[in-house]
């Protein structure tokens, strides 16, 4: 469903992505792992044109987006099929939880208000926030805010949800509630591409793992294979440090 080929990206003199390939099939839950600064987040942002890649092609749903030949309208159309969950939630601070979820439907997609509210409530119910419809972001905990972020992503009925380190900004005791929601989505067959540092998620929920370092994909494979028999020495070292830490 998503096929990226040879994506490159530099910021000023720093090369962040050195030709990355990536394939996500419908129903896949792909975890992107790797040390900080390896380009994981930039890759994710390039897939949704939050950053413009310097080179490479992106195929989404059979439609090809070639660097330099993408119009604003193409980008808008692509974005309407995808959703994004941010590390810092990025909720609209002047809107309630429910308005955060319905804004993109009512304004972006011109949906009828009643229908949007119905969808919005259902999305918030799903992430366990039925009692927080009318709370503003600053009245919610980090975990609750991130669940609103996920509800906002769900409400637009996307074909894929991109998660950019969704639990990295959370207090340890709040991580569980967010991961539980993500796990539930994965079980329901949602296609997800998740940049994460949560090894338990990569191991137990995702079916595919991509390991990146220094702007390149070092290793990729099924998550069972990846954790049981990592082929690269660098991957083994990475996994060892992590297991040492925990």
């Amino acid at each position: 469903m998503v096929q990226a080929r040879n994506i490159t990206k530099s910021f000023q003199t720093q090369v962040v992505l050195r030709g990355v390939d990536l394939t996500v099939e419908k129903g896949d839950v792909v975890a992107i792992l790797g040390p900080s600064g390896s380009g994981k987040t930039t890759l994710l942002r390039c897939l949704n044109f939050l950053e413009t890649a310097d080179g490479g092609t992106l195929e989404f749903d059979g439609e090809t987006f070639q660097r330099g030949h993408v119009s604003k309208r193409d980008i808008a159309r692509l974005r309407k099929k995808t959703a994004f969950v941010f590390q810092n939630y990025n909720l609209f601070s002047n809107k309630t939880a429910l308005q955060n979820v319905t804004e993109g439907l009512i304004i972006g997609r011109k949906m009828h208000k009643a229908q949007a509210l119905e969808i919005g409530r259902r999305a918030l119910d799903k992430v366990g926030l039925s009692d927080r419809y009318d709370y503003y972001p600053h009245q919610l905990s980090g975990g609750q805010q991130q669940r609103v972020g996920i509800a906002r992503a769900l409400a637009t009925d996307p074909e894929i949800i991109y998660f950019d380190e969704p639990t990295s900004a959370l207090d340890p005791e709040l991580i569980g509630e967010v991961l539980a929601v993500m796990k539930q989505l994965a079980e329901e067959g949602m296609t997800m591409l998740v940049v994460t540092h949560e090894m338990s998620f990569a191991r137990n929920v995702s079916n595919k793992v991509i390991f990146m370092e220094d702007g390149q994909v070092l290793e990729e494979g099924s998550s069972r294979e990846f954790f049981a028999h990592p082929s690269q020495e660098r991957t083994r070292a990475f996994l060892r440090t992590l297991s040492g830490e925990r």
Binding site: N48, A76, R79, A83, F92, N94, G104, G108
Partner: protein, 240 residues
């Protein structure tokens, strides 16, 4: 206090207040409204980084902020007739005050726009909104909330600045007072009197500002946040 002085003060009160209501207040409201329109447009152009227009906006702000308001009034009112452009005193005052205040408020608005986290704009794109929709629904409402206290400051400041319009023959409160002084030779009492009327106007505006802030939830939300409490206490010393 002599009986004569008392009589002058009481007599002149309505004679000063009426030009205040008929001239000073409309002049302030009109000029500030136009200034806000200018400010929002100029701030949005800079925020959106529109190339050539942005340079023009920077130039406008540079010139207006770098020259005295009184000089601007004189150039437009006494200078432009040399080029055959003659504008009546009141419209001329509105024009100059709008342009002048617009430049200051544009900077306030720009700072407020930039204070809205960029991530919210990205989130807006990701849920399928266009740039203008994001500005209208997400960024501007938050920016106005942030800009409300400093903009109130500018408005209060402007009420007093309108007294400069006396220099271009607009008969507002100050000019009315000068005329009474010329007749009665009681400058001390009368200038204090007009000062008190300005004070009255500004007190009303300050009250409105507090009501507005409560309405916008600004006060309440920020009282909880120690950082903002710090910022607000600093701002108290920064009033123009």
């Amino acid at each position: 206090m002599s009986e004569r002085l008392l009589e002058i003060i009481v007599d002149s009160f309505t004679k000063i207040l009426i030009p205040g209501i008929k001239v000073t207040i409309p002049l302030t409201i009109l000029s500030f409204s136009f200034a806000m329109v200018i400010a929002v447009i100029v701030a949005m152009i800079q925020f959106a980084q529109i190339r050539v227009l942005k340079q023009i906006c920077r130039f406008y702000i540079w010139v207006v902020r770098g020259t005295p308001l009184l000089v601007q009034l004189y150039v437009i009112f006494y200078g432009l007739p040399n080029l055959g452009i003659i504008i009546d005193p009141f419209p001329c005052a509105v024009l100059v005050f709008s342009i002048n205040e617009g430049a200051y408020c544009a900077e306030t608005m720009r700072a407020a726009l930039e204070s809205v986290p960029r991530g919210q704009i990205e989130a807006g794109y990701c849920v399928g909104m266009s740039y203008l929709q994001i500005m209208r629904r997400i960024v501007l409402p938050q920016a106005f909330r942030t800009a409300f206290p400093p903009l109130s400051n500018s408005l209060i400041s402007m009420v007093k600045d309108t007294s400069l319009a006396a220099n271009i023959t607009v008969v507002e409160m100050f000019m009315a007072t000068q005329r009474i002084v010329a007749r009665t030779y009681e400058p001390l009492a009368l200038y204090i009197e007009v000062g008190l009327i300005y004070l009255l106007f500004c007190t009303v505006l300050t009250g409105l500002q507090h009501m507005g802030e409560r309405r916008l939830n600004v006060a309440e939300e920020r009282r909880k946040d120690p950082w903002y409490r710090h910022v607000i206490s600093l701002n108290r010393f920064r009033r123009r």
